[in-house]
């Protein structure tokens, strides 16, 4: 189990690094949340409120950095990320709790769909290499080069403004109170469709390309030829032999590039005003809400880490060579 143990060490270290990094970032950087709140109101909030806000946010106290670091860890273990400034005095944990299901569903589902679709398409194109399907490659690279947010903008312009079949923003219809009833779920799905499609469209090509290359590479392995020689069905050879092996590097690639993917999808939320964690991060960033930024960043990192762990487990399950070693 050396492989899993190594991975475990890796997770622990990454988690520690992310948490510590998270602690230091706001402290190393300049900025003032009170001022940004004032700026947000541009004159409608009296400057006299400044003092009130300092008092309210508790920014008038001083403790040593080390003490803060220890407190930070202590709080973290209690799931306490502090109070958000933007949503003062709501605890950051609550803000995140409110937004994370949206992201998990939108980003999780669409990333998964795009991974699965892309992988299947990649296997197919790679398997039929040298045929017209190869001409999809440049098209694919074009789509994978489009920034998520821009595609989102176009999607909104076309499908929400010019030809309004989809809502332009939000996670569900304002007429509903979130609950598990059919209307609400339908509304949520309906609102999530356009951003999800955007994510899928702009990321599916990347997976397809990677998988195609791996399939091509693996297809010329001896064992694939042997599988043909054995007279197995084409489907068996394609999936059981070629794709089954080609997917391994793709899975570890999937795990490791999750960090990148999540980054890209968060911007989609901003464009679609989707009530997810990406949008919350954006809010935190624009109003210097350190506790919020920290909390969101930490959650994102930890989710990526968890997703990574799942991908690793999948990898270990799929590749017997990692299971037994030494």
């Amino acid at each position: 189990m050396t492989f899993l143990l190594r991975r475990f060490v890796f997770y622990v270290v990454t988690a520690w690094a992310a948490i510590t990094l998270n602690f230091f970032i706001p402290r190393m950087l300049p900025g003032n949340p009170v001022q940004s709140l004032i700026n947000r109101y541009q004159g409608q909030l009296s400057t006299d409120a400044t003092q009130a806000l300092y008092a309210m946010f508790g920014l008038d106290k001083e403790t040593s950095v080390w003490q803060q670091y220890l407190d930070y860890w202590g709080n973290l273990f209690q799931g306490d990320f502090g109070l958000s400034f933007t949503y003062f005095p709501t605890p950051v944990a609550e803000v995140i709790e409110q937004s994370i299901p949206w992201t998990l569903i939108l980003v999780g589902v669409s990333t998964l769909i795009s991974f699965v679709l892309g992988t299947l398409a990649g296997v197919y194109i790679g398997w039929r290499r040298g045929r017209w399907t190869d001409s999809l490659l440049p098209v694919g690279s074009f789509f994978s080069a489009i920034p998520y947010f821009w595609l989102g903008l176009i999607a909104i312009a076309v499908f929400a403004v010019a030809w309004p079949v989809f809502p332009a923003s939000g996670g569900y219809d304002g007429a509903f109170v979130p609950s598990w009833d059919a209307d609400f779920i339908w509304s949520a799905v309906y609102h999530g469709l356009l951003p999800a499609v955007t994510i899928v469209v702009s990321s599916v090509a990347g997976w397809a390309l990677g998988m195609r290359n791996m399939t091509v590479t693996v297809s010329s392995e001896d064992y694939v030829t042997v599988a043909h020689a054995k007279g197995l069905k084409e489907r068996t050879v394609m999936f059981g032999y070629a794709a089954r092996n080609a997917i391994l590097p793709n899975i570890s690639g999937f795990a490791l590039s999750l960090g990148f993917i999540v980054g890209g999808t968060l911007v989609t939320e901003i464009v679609f005003s989707y009530p997810g964690i990406g949008y919350v991060l954006y809010q935190g960033v624009s109003s210097k809400d350190y506790p919020l930024m920290q909390g969101v960043f930490l959650i994102i990192t930890l989710s990526v880490l968890v997703a990574n762990m799942l991908a690793d487990l999948a990898y270990a399950a799929l590749d017997p060579r990692t299971r037994q070693e030494g």
Partner: protein
Amino acid sequence: MATPTTVDLPVASGEHGISPKKGRGGRGAWSIFRNRKAIVGLSILGFFAIIAALGDVIAPYDPNKVSSTLMSGPSGEHWLGTTNTGQDILSQLIVGTRGVLIVGLLAGAIATAISVLIGVTAGFIGGVGDEFLSLLANVFLVIPALPLIIIIASQLPEAGGTTVALVIAFTGWAWGSRIMRAQTLSLRRRDFVEAARANGESLWRIVCFEILPNLTAIIASGFIGTVIFAVLSQITLAFIGVTSVSTWNWGTILFWAQSNQALAQGAWWWFVPAGLCIAALGTALTLINFGIDEFVNPRLRTTGGSAKAQRAKRIRARVGFTPVYRAPAEKRGED
């Protein structure tokens, strides 16, 4: 195996089993320029490079210049229309090219330098040092780069081009370093490295003259990859407005378009061209990387020009069922 690594790519062509084609003098890196995808990619990149170099000269207007033609669509006067303050969008696009390319290339260069340094060192020294450096790289890989960049960039007092490039480079080197490490590791075990050592070559010479040159393609591909990442990140940052929006780049244009609700006003000319430019540049870079991939991994090479020959002869090449092509009678037996 520390972690599932990416494919071990063969280092260079011309090895046992791949018969070197006749008439191709040398196996120089230039042969990549024979790859059609790479050529297309390089042409597009070259086009943007020229625009970036000449930006100020060829832009029809000062991109900041306000005029009284407000929010007008493409016309003879303003080919790509104007903004709500009457600025010329084409000029912004042209002038903005430089910012995009410089930040992209700078970030790419710095990140590649870091990744080569860390990746090659890790791969070469092995042992505890390798474990540590790989761990570092993996940590950086897993930590979501874009949110981190957004946070750092948004909090910096001066988020100009260089700063952004530095931040992107600092967060974006890990992927390249992983690949570099895997490659170095496989190279280090190659006989020619051992042979050079047995011949008395010094360590640094082995690294610089035996290993690094063999990594050129991988380094180039890593560089291109980072440039793509850098360009997209930079544009995203500009778009959400956390970096300086007064230096023109394509992201800035989109930022202004978005904050002035170009969409709602139907001003497609404001946000479509910049997006297309990003996609075109990204495609160009991706295509170049395809070229490099195919150069490094000969299995990926599409049979190239022979695709035409295949079609002409109605041959359907595939694994497992070799096509039988019987030439028309008069051509047979000519050998």
